[in-house]
Subunit: 188 residues, 2 copies
Amino acid sequence: MNALRDRILREGRNLGNGILRVDGFINHQIDPALMDGCGRALAARFAPTRAARVLTAEVSGIAPAVSTALHLGVPAVYARRDRPVTMAGPVLTAVAASRTKHRGTELFAAAEYLPPGDRVLIIDDFLATGQTILGLARLTAAAGATLVGVGVLIEKAFQDGRAALAGLGVPIESLVTITDMTGGRIVV
Amino acid sequence: MNALRDRILREGRNLGNGILRVDGFINHQIDPALMDGCGRALAARFAPTRAARVLTAEVSGIAPAVSTALHLGVPAVYARRDRPVTMAGPVLTAVAASRTKHRGTELFAAAEYLPPGDRVLIIDDFLATGQTILGLARLTAAAGATLVGVGVLIEKAFQDGRAALAGLGVPIESLVTITDMTGGRIVV
C-alpha cells in the first residue's frame, strides 16, 4: 500500500519508545480518501475469508474497520471501552490492554451483533503488542463466532504482536510494516 | 434520506427519556453502505459552503464525519475526549456535556489540524440538546477558524438543540428529524 507508506515516511513522527504519531491522517485528523484506499486494499486481501462481519475497538479502529467493511459489503462492529446506557441485551466482555490509552482495558460488545458461528474479521489501525487484537479475538470466541483473519494498517514488526497472535491460527495482514524506530528513524 | 428514515423506523428502539437506540446501524454496529449514503447526502447539502475541513467529536461522530469528508474531498478531524500521549503542539480545548456518555465533558484538538481562517463544517450523529456541537463550535472559534455549517444524521426536534445552535448563524441540516418519542413512539 504505497500511498500509506509514503504518507508515513513524509508525515509520521517518531515520538520515541516505539510510539508513532500518525495524527495527521489516521488518529486525530483522518484523510478519508487514503482511508478508503486502505479499506479497499484490506478488503481485497481478505475477500477469500468470506467474512460476514468486521470487528474493531473504539476509537482509532473505527475508520479503517468501516472502510474495509464497506468494500467487503458487510457490517462493522466496534467494541466499546465503556459500557454505554444504550447497550441492551446480553453483553460480551473481554480484557485488552493498551499502552497509549488511559481508558478502560475492558472491551464490551452486544452479543446481538456477534452471532454464534459468524465469520469475523478483526481490523485495527496498529499491530504493536497485539493486546487489543487479542482482546477482540477473546470477544469473538466468547460470542461463539469464528475468527477468520486480522488486518491492520500499520504493523510494528519490532514489537511482539505478530508472535502474540500466532496462536490464533488465522492470516494476519498489514498494509505497511515498520521494522525499526530506533534512533528517531522510521524504517519501512 | 429515505434509507436512514426507514432503518430508524424498522430497527430503532425508543429507550424512554428521549433516548433512541440505533446501535444496529450507527452507534455500535455500523452499516457502512448506509453511512456512505448519509455522507454523500450531507456532502451534497453542504457543497455550497466550500468547507475545507470536517470536525466531529469521538466516538460516534467519526463514521458520519469521515463519510461526509470523503464525499467533500476534505480531511476529517475528530476532537478527543481525553488527551492522548501522541497529541503534540498547541492544543485547543472546549467544554461539551453529553447525556449518554460518562466520559469527560472536555474536547481536545491539536491546533495544527484546525488552522486559523479554515472553513469548518461540524458533523455529528445526533442533534439533541446541542451541547456536543456547541463544544465543537467553541473549539472552532478558539482556533480562529470559521464555522460554515452543522450537519447531523438524526435530529430530535422535541429537544432544544436547534434553538441552542441558532446563535451560531450557520445552516443546520439533519437527514432525519424525529418529532416525537413520547409513549414509546418514534415519529419522523
